[in-house]
Symmetry: C2
Subunit: 495 residues, 2 copies
Amino acid sequence: MSQSKAAISPRRAENFPSWYQEVVRQADLAAMSHVRGCMVIKPWGYGIWELMQRELDQQIKDRGHDNVYFPLFIPLSYIEKEAEHVEGFAKEMAVVTHHRLEKRDGRLVPAAPFEEPLVVRPTSETVIGETMAEWVQSYRDLPLKLNQWANVVRWEMRPRVLLRTTEFLWQEGHTAHATEAEAVAETLEMHQVYESFARDWLAMPVVAGEKSPTERFPGAKRTYTIEAMMQDGKAVQAGTSHYLGQNFARSAGIEFTDTDGARKHAYTTSWGASTRLVGALVMTHGDDDGLCVPPAVAPHQVVIVPVLRDSSPAVLDYANRLAEALRAQRTRFGRVRVHLDNRATRPGDKKWQWIKRGAPLLVEVGPRDAESGTVSFRNRFEPHRQQQLPLSDFVTSVGEELAGLQDRLLARATDRLDEGIRRDITTREDAESHFREDGAGFALAGWCGSSGCETGLKPLGVTIRCLPSHLSADATTCLVCGTPSNHSAIWGLSY
Amino acid sequence: MSQSKAAISPRRAENFPSWYQEVVRQADLAAMSHVRGCMVIKPWGYGIWELMQRELDQQIKDRGHDNVYFPLFIPLSYIEKEAEHVEGFAKEMAVVTHHRLEKRDGRLVPAAPFEEPLVVRPTSETVIGETMAEWVQSYRDLPLKLNQWANVVRWEMRPRVLLRTTEFLWQEGHTAHATEAEAVAETLEMHQVYESFARDWLAMPVVAGEKSPTERFPGAKRTYTIEAMMQDGKAVQAGTSHYLGQNFARSAGIEFTDTDGARKHAYTTSWGASTRLVGALVMTHGDDDGLCVPPAVAPHQVVIVPVLRDSSPAVLDYANRLAEALRAQRTRFGRVRVHLDNRATRPGDKKWQWIKRGAPLLVEVGPRDAESGTVSFRNRFEPHRQQQLPLSDFVTSVGEELAGLQDRLLARATDRLDEGIRRDITTREDAESHFREDGAGFALAGWCGSSGCETGLKPLGVTIRCLPSHLSADATTCLVCGTPSNHSAIWGLSY
């Protein structure tokens, strides 16, 4: 394949949504299954998710949370207790009504119906709340800081692989506290964990901030979000953290005896991040040759491909020696993860497969390398430029090379985000002409605070993504109504 | 609490099933939830499971399997394709029939029914098979070696926490191969992985062998199992590995073009181990003071409890110094996992809590220890015997101490198993009088091979647990009918 021809068709600029589907397919990340709205996560995609999990799990544990596991099924009566919550999820809940199949007239049909139907968890506040109510008796039992890694189900009418699927995988943290201040601090701490995790591990810069009222989690007092900008200028909500006040504590009965002897309702929080992060990674770092995985979360950081179909023992020996030497290296991301691809596939096909999958460093080993003790490699940032180093130099510099790639990915994405935040869109007319184009990016503008204006651009598909914590609009008037603004807001299209 | 009084009531000898429930409760492992048949896995129980997962996951990956994730829901039509399979699971499948809730007359009711109901996976052979059929085209695509960590649902009429719950967590491996020989070798390899994992990590000796026909996985040609003996003499099936022949390949259409150009059906396998291993751990290593966790899978291997309620800074400093020194030690099980329990709870309560939870080593730090530089500790094998060592001696010997505890747990359990396998039960009359007692253990006896005799002791609750690979019965006649036997069999009661 020549340099002029891209590996992925269509290119990003031609048709971004189709390009995305094609990268997910060609990078072997995931596929929609025949089960409506549900996906299959393939080895390379799942490997990336496992590395995300491992790091995020450690950060969650380091902050004093314990992993637990709660039931998949939620009785309808639990869900009904919190009015806003059930309102928010009723339209997308899978309902289990029977617990047996029986043959009738030669066909299997559901039998043994439940008196009360069960719902497949769309999120677990209500079912965890019922248990918290039993575990929490006194201020001594607080804070209670739990987390679970689980699958959840929200019925999607328009599924999109990895980004919006009926079933997805996530972690959901659930905590209970004695005071409002402590619960708010917890909410913000986990919000910041998501922000730094996205930046430092996924090389994905985000705009962090609070959601406006209609965008809050159903039942929350406040929702904080990190919003990443994809290469087409649309936002992906990449992790949310909710301060739930006493809403769920009241509906589930999470009460405790405080130091003063009074019975009080606890203050709870919840926060989650999901497999859609893998989709966001694609749309942040992919290019016309496929995916580019940040080394921090790459299942294989270095892939070694022998260039002869029937590799000579000398070439294989050399490749193995290189792999061993690399595995002994410690980097910013721990031990180097090396894969020697020794399949009976054409070397050229293998090379392109690993480029499309986005392996950070690709080494091709031929007889000449084995003889001269050199390493011919390309990094995924510049897949068409092959470099060469003596083996020992390559081995000792691999940590630097990987760190450099991670940093360049972050810098490129940060430049894109910075350029994509427009401060010159200040009126409704500006917004209408701007957001009708593709690749629109975010508008950092004013909002008067009214609910009418909050949803005023919905006909364009534009919503307030967040009220950013670290950015202020230049404009001093509401983007929708033109009256003086009370908030700076990030407006945009979203996935 | 004096030495004469046990922490768990009733004692094992008084009422084993109640003792089990009580240990699970008092060791904070898990609890049945209000969602019928489903459990909540608490931090200490989940921590043990996570360590089991981590090790087993590594062993699975080391053998060339890739982790993936497949849908929770299975269309009824997939399940129906394999006749034995659907027969085996029809009575215990949760059925999803609607994907929305709507308010009618003020009550939420299921709305938006499916044309074809979905089943919540009881196991994933059928849904993974449909995808394998797409991924496998040629002999070059084989072997395909996949594994997933997931929740599964089998509706239980008589649930028992951790051992038999409607929802449980497990790993399920699914592989496809070009030849029968390769698939059988895979089945046996994973069978052996389970056997050595149980022995080396859970200190749980097992009898390994093949299942007799009626005990096979529905749809399998052969099922291999590891059977552990609990302290009441009953068996727990602790991990199974199935050779599926071409049954599932035929029903799902997993076909490939072989080297000779012919189209053939692949040979598949599946194998799984679940959270019931945590229950088996309790019934293997628990005693009248609670659980005893093998150091290999103990979330905290050393727990340090300051003995004064308002710990002086000197005591806390000393405890922290000890914790740091221990954490730097490498052992057979990796870095030492240390927990300093600094809660505002009475030290005596804390001590008993950690004994009941089964922390391998418990250190109590008082002012005198801090002054003299000593460590007062007890190991969970002998919880009533406190020992003392200078700090540096304790630190350097901690690896040995933990390894010694692991080995003693295995030795004790192995003695129990060896003693519990009776070779002198050779007739139906022997079996009837033997198995009517409690604490019956296994009978290693003959089986003629007939299906009538295979199920002949079912009225006693006794089944063939396996045809053991490494044991031969002394008896040469069938335990049930007395005719010459063709097989050695392990007969027993089971969970």
